[in-house]
Symmetry: C2
Subunit: 461 residues, 2 copies
């Protein structure tokens, strides 16, 4: 390990490698992760180019040292932990937007570009990148966790927006998965394979993303419902009616209370299940969509329709939703940790599983909220618990994995957008069965025979 | 081989295997393919279930016999040829729609379901499956070629619409790539890997497809342009303005002449470059979009705006576009063959490459047309040539591969939607380079070590 560090220092410069304990801790532990491990990375390496990443991979291959990519560090299922040590590759110095091809509707970026900053750069050209996970996320991690967010119901998830990837393989080879066409049917979809592979097949060092045009008109409306079931049923009806909502997000009574308590918005909200709708398109199109949604919501007991009066209020309302997890964290007690996890089910089953999970989570007697990307059949629960109280840990786990099992029973998935990391490995085996996991394992072995690429994540070898 | 056939007859019944010469020819040769080979499959097997496909794979693994999947037989780059013999697996008896989950917006089908028939079944539920390649295509082949069609500009391509796949691997193992959630980030995207793998990694035996809701309102408009360059530039501007056209298709002067000659529609068309626009959404949204497109087209010298007066005329206009290839074939002389191929480039380069290719193709002195999915940067050329005239064959090849090279130079792809088959293997190496092809090869070897799954396609081992 020491020799490897010295070799890398000779190649990349002394400052490119850190063994500072705080740095190691920040790269191996996360406050908002459901799983942390006792080990930390042995070193953190800060490459500045794809070529340097390739050099790192070659040295690591020589000394059989694990390699763990790191960008925003906002993942919640233990994706960047170092269960067997190894080098954390932090892309902090690879944070450039390399090209904005506005007439081609695409952009070339390095892994450490934050999506929020990217959108600020794109705004003058009237363009945006629609995948919107948690505020701190960066493109590298977003690719590797196949993330999504509130815009997914209209625009799809990460896999739909990656044109090509530059990837460094376990042995240091550099490949580019595609050129830059908007559409292609040429050869295996390697892009799609590396998206969501959580860095276990190779290290993403450059990304071309598709872009879309900022809509002419947007509008935000908020509707309350008597129960989660009513809210989820209304969301399913909106989807079934084919209304192209730009987003459709549900927060439960607890989460609405959090917004009030933290004061994220100027309004005081009713603390009942609430759906936030975003509409976008032309003026007339938005008006039509609002009318349809109003009628559907009413038929599901929706009430208290409120519209954002202007752009500022739209932003404020929507940020209340986007910062839900952060608002929760603001209320976290000294000894508390947050368990934030997600599942997804076929649309028609959403109302049932959300209602049931709400009951289970409520029964814990802990502070817990639920929020859902209800147009995708995908929802999150977030529970505060005391990590040092084994009984509490046990109770939370029981409720979470019961929710996962219920989702699987409904032909759903153990994670709609957080990905597997360390926490959902057993659930993934339940979800797909040993034969399908076997195929994943064979692919992994083909590209990473010594299991050096983010080992221990997604499945065990 | 004989022993294998006897074993399969014992397992599946005598009628499940055909060695009838006409049957072999139909499964190894295609009139509208750019590449045919001298060999034919040794037998055609007609399974009735996934389990039977698994039995076939096991027998073939035992005797090292290649396996070539066959559904609609409409591919054009030699995808279902048998360059080293083997068994063609025709899914004719696996043509059932197994479940329509209308509230989940998905459907479960067998490989031999034609997409047109599927949409007829979905219509009463107000749903449709938007991927629309050539009229005869069936779901199995559509998955394996990662096809698309005129709706791609709005709805994306095959890879965006597959929820899960049941796949039989080379050794007979049966896997399911996912359960049935609309969104998931759980494990490797095997679905996305098998989509577009042309049957070289395994045999798709069951498919869950996402569906969408039929739009309230549709409209079709036709606009003429003085040159292909103007038409392509107008299309790029429409994309850049973010108008959500449902489709945007260009046909050149020759293709418009074909429609007139064959009499596909009641109208007589000007034989000049023409763009067909389809609009869909709410009434008001469609009206808005039409106005925007009209203004853009005018600024690019577009004229002669014509709208379909009613639904029947919409269907007629659109079918003129959809049946373009068939219309061409109706004009094919006795000794002639059709070379139909496609490339795709970043949007801003489309006008240039289409203009240049038009010039080259025009210079051949043969009957040739061009048509483009111009919102995707993707276009086709179709050329009649006499296969028995080596000089003609040589000339066509030269023009086609010049077009491909030009597309690659522009960071494009050798195929936007037809996929590689036999004809584009060398182009794929040029496009992605030996390192990236090397990764595809390693994945192939991991899942199909004896290269029995549709061997010889996409790349050479």
């Amino acid at each position: 390990m020491e020799t490897a560090i010295e070799e890398l220092r000779a190649l990349l410069g002394r400052d490119a490698i850190s063994i500072d304990p705080d740095d190691l801790h920040r790269h191996g532990y996360s406050d908002w992760s459901t799983t942390n491990v006792d080990t930390l990375p042995t070193a953190v390496v800060y490459p500045t180019s794809t070529l340097e990443v390739s050099q790192i991979a070659k040295v690591c291959a020589k000394y059989k040292i694990p390699v763990i990519p790191y960008s925003g560090g906002t993942s919640v299922e233990g994706q960047f932990t170092a269960p067997v040590g190894g080098f954390s590759i932090d892309f902090a110095n690879m944070d450039k937007i390399l090209a904005i091809n506005d007439d081609d509707l695409d952009v070339v970026v390095q892994p450490s570009v934050p999506w929020i900053e990217l959108n600020e750069h794109l705004k003058p050209a009237g363009l945006f990148f629609p995948v919107d996970p948690g505020p701190g996320a960066r493109i590298g991690g977003m690719v590797s966790t196949s993330c999504s967010g509130t815009n997914a119901v209209r625009y799809g998830t990460m896999k739909d927006w990656v044109v090509n990837l530059t990837v460094v393989l376990a042995d240091g080879r550099i490949i580019k998965t595609r050129r830059r066409p908007r559409k292609t049917a040429a050869g295996y979809n390697l892009t799609g394979l590396f998206v969501g592979a959580e860095g276990t097949l190779g290290i993403v060092t450059e990304v071309t993303l598709r872009l879309t045009v900022l809509p002419q008109e947007t509008s935000v409306a908020v509707v309350t419902f008597p129960t989660i079931r009513d809210a989820a049923a209304a969301a399913s009806s909106v989807m079934r009616a084919g209304v192209p909502v730009a987003a459709m997000e549900m927060m439960d009574d607890v989460q609405m209370g959090v917004i009030n308590k933290v004061g994220s918005t100027k309004r005081k909200w009713k603390e009942v299940p609430t759906v936030f709708f975003k509409f976008s398109g032309t003026k007339a199109g938005v008006r039509d969509n609002i009318e349809t949604v109003k009628a559907i919501a009413k038929s599901h007991m929706g009430g208290d329709f409120q519209f954002a009066a202007n752009q500022a209020e739209q932003t404020e309302l929507w940020s209340a939703r986007k910062e839900a997890l952060w608002s929760m964290l603001a209320l976290k007690g000294e000894d508390e940790e947050l368990w934030s996890t997600d599942v997804a089910v076929p649309l028609s089953r959403l109302a049932e599983i959300m209602e049931e999970s709400k009951k289970d989570i409520g029964g814990l007697g802990m502070f817990a909220s639920m929020l859902g990307h209800v147009g995708d059949g995908n929802f999150h629960s977030a529970i505060f618990y005391n990590k040092k109280d084994p009984e509490q840990v046990e109770k939370v786990k029981r409720v979470v994995y019961k929710m996962v099992d219920k989702a699987l029973e409904m032909e759903g998935t153990c994670t709609g957008e957080h990905s597997v990391g360390l926490s959902k490995k057993a659930s993934l085996v339940k979800e797909l069965g040993p034969e399908t996991i076997g195929v994943m394992r064979e692919l992994k072995r083909a590209l990473d025979p010594h299991s050096l690429m983010n080992p221990g994540k997604i499945f065990d070898l």
